[in-house]
């Protein structure tokens, strides 16, 4: 899918820097994502890719530069942060479902308390999304009773129930047993096909080839290379990218 260049980006990172103590974890990051674009971020561990997407909904605070999401700049203004978080869904490596609530309650919590939807309506939406991630029968179970793959699909549904404009995925399959990775990726592919704006940190290069509009390669806190997946995989321009790809695609 090609993206119209004149469309205004929904996510903009301008010269973003961040440090953990003295460690310079993000260096001069510039990234534009337009509506409907699917960006896959890859790179060796410790390259700052998770930190970067966590900056987009301010789970991490950037220390220099500008981040704009849907035209709103992320500052320490709590109102802005909450407004952006309502529109940006996030899926974590460790699922982070609420263990004291049932699956259905996990899904309806934010729509009821943040979006102020009536409970009944929120439940209808929740069941719809459970259907879409193919686990409608688990609605009344607790997260601890589900497999890892099922939990991650619930986590995706939980984010979708807020009807976000953007979905962030932070290594969503890294904590899963191999046989469960596919069921989660299938859900994500479907979501991509529906036109959701996605920024996805992952090592699943097969998934990246299938859905990505743009590949981003990060190393040592920098964006080293970015481009459409075809070129990115066939002719990486940078040595570091080439080395990384040869390592990750070797097995």
């Amino acid at each position: 899918m090609t993206v119209l260049p004149e469309e205004a980006p929904i996510i903009e990172l301008r010269g973003v820097d961040k440090w953990f103590g003295d460690f310079h974890v993000l260096r001069n990051i510039n990234l534009d994502v337009v509506r409907g674009e699917r960006v896959v971020v890859c790179g060796p561990s410790g390259s700052g890719k998770s930190t970067m997407i966590r900056c987009i909904n301010r789970l991490e605070e950037h220390q220099r530069g500008q981040i704009l999401v849907a035209g709103i700049e992320l500052t320490s203004d709590v109102k802005n942060i909450e407004a952006i978080r309502r529109e940006v869904g996030m899926v974590f490596q460790q699922f982070n479902l609420f263990p004291h609530l049932t699956v259905l309650e996990n899904l309806t919590l934010a729509p009821v308390w943040v979006r102020k939807l009536p409970k009944k309506e929120a439940e209808e939406t929740a069941r719809l999304y459970l259907e879409r991630v193919r686990i409608p029968e688990q609605a009344n179970k607790y997260p601890g009773q589900l497999s890892g793959g099922q939990q991650q699909r619930v986590a995706i549904a939980r984010s979708l129930c807020m009807k976000p404009e953007i979905m962030l995925f932070d290594e969503p399959t890294s904590a899963l047993d191999p046989e469960m990775i596919k069921e989660v990726l299938d859900v994500m592919i479907e979501l991509a096909e529906e036109g959701m704006t996605m920024v996805c940190v992952t090592h699943e290069m097969g998934f990246a080839r299938t859905v990505a509009d743009t590949m981003v390669f990060m190393d040592r806190g920098e964006i080293v290379e970015r481009g459409p997946p075809k070129e990115f995989f066939a002719n990486p321009r940078n040595d570091r990218t080439r080395l990384f790809l040869s390592q990750i695609l070797a097995h």
Partner: protein
């Protein structure tokens, strides 16, 4: 595309776990006589029980005197339960006007009914809060009187079991939310809030309860403008509440610290904001985790109410002590203390069972 579920494809032969050995002899062999050391311990325990139990039964039941007119007629080898028959009402209700004893009795019944009602999870929420509000109001009316044809009874005559329950239950009701705020404040990002909470908790924890009660009873009136007085019971209640809150706060903080970072991030990423996140995600999990130490603290606080005797309030233990000073009935310490201990034990045992029920309730569906 369907769920990957390998195990359903090939039917495996059904094999049951080995049956546990049944029958009392097997049980004895497996549990009491399974090693030389265990056999020795079992025999020692049996010997100890054989030596101690019969004398206790002889004292408490066989040789006990159930009816007597005075202490002199009640001397024998056994317990003098006639003392309890004579003084039981005084121990329970103290100097509350004798013919009005139905009022504190009713108050105690209301307390017990409300506590039992709180066990039913279906009632939790607004309805239970309303029930407690109504119940506490009823207790207040019964104890104070002055309306509905009941004579006014000042708080210095509120003695015995109702006093113990009022101090403990009302103390807990106020200490608990205060403790939650203190625990949250101690983890706050705002330095001023954090400093106040840490200072409060450390100060109160560093001082014995008796000192706090003394301060509330003796020193506080000195700081009040002349002419203004606060009821002694209210002062004790406040001291007791503030003291318990500091301890509960530290327990709750332990629970807060055990909440994984990911839970907070997930709540944040859904846009819940601090207070909703705390109320809906953090506290339910944190409190469920610390039920055992919380209840431990509640039990301790319940028994700590007996310290109010130091400022001249007669709780259950105070009235028992007072009952022992009757010249006609002197020397029945064991009977008086067994009686009060039984009452304390009943309440504390109930609390510990309640805690187990709560734990089961909250751990439902986890790690199954």
């Amino acid at each position: 595309m369907t769920d990957i579920d390998v195990t359903h494809d090939l039917p495996l032969p059904v094999e049951r776990p080995p049956r546990p050995t049944a029958g009392p002899i097997d049980w004895l062999r497996a549990n009491l006589f399974n090693s030389v050391l265990n056999t020795i311990l079992t025999l020692a325990a049996v010997y100890l029980l054989a030596v101690t139990i019969p004398p206790v039964i002889r004292w408490a039941v066989v040789d006990a005197i159930w009816h007597a007119d005075s202490g002199r007629a009640c001397r024998g080898d056994g317990a003098c339960w006639a003392f309890i028959a004579e003084k039981g009402r005084f121990i329970l209700f103290g100097r509350f006007p004798y013919e009005e004893h139905w009022r504190p009795l009713f108050a105690v019944v209301i307390f017990i009914a409300m506590i039992l009602a709180s066990c039913d999870r279906r009632l939790w929420g607004r309805r239970l809060a309303a029930l407690w509000l109504a119940g506490l109001a009823a207790v207040g009316v019964l104890m104070w009187g002055g309306i509905l044809g009941m004579s006014y009874v000042e708080t210095s005559l509120w003695n015995g079991l109702p006093l113990t329950l009022i101090l403990a239950v009302i103390g807990m009701i106020f200490a608990f939310p205060l403790a939650i705020l203190l625990a949250l404040g101690r983890r706050s990002q705002l330095p001023a809030v954090r400093a106040i909470c840490v200072g409060y908790i450390e100060l109160v924890r560093g001082v014995p309860l008796i000192t706090v009660l003394f301060m509330a009873s003796v020193m506080l009136p000195l700081f009040l403008p002349t002419g203004m007085t606060i009821d002694k019971l209210l002062r004790a209640q406040m001291a007791f509440t503030l003291f318990a809150a500091a301890y509960l706060a530290e327990i709750i903080r332990g629970g807060l610290q055990a909440i994984p970072r990911g839970q907070i991030e997930a709540a944040d990423s859904l846009g819940l904001g601090y207070w909703r996140r705390t109320r809906l995600i953090v506290l339910p999990q944190a409190l469920a985790m610390v039920i055992p130490p919380l209840v431990n603290s509640f039990i301790g606080a319940f028994k700590n109410t007996s310290l109010v005797i130091i400022i001249g309030l007669f709780d259950l233990l105070g009235t028992a002590n007072a009952a022992l000073t009757d010249a006609n009935w002197q020397g029945f310490y064991i009977e008086a203390y067994v009686f009060t201990a039984a009452i304390y034990f009943t309440f504390c045992f109930f609390m510990s069972r309640y805690s187990q029920m709560l734990e089961r309730e909250f751990n439902k569906g986890r790690q199954q």
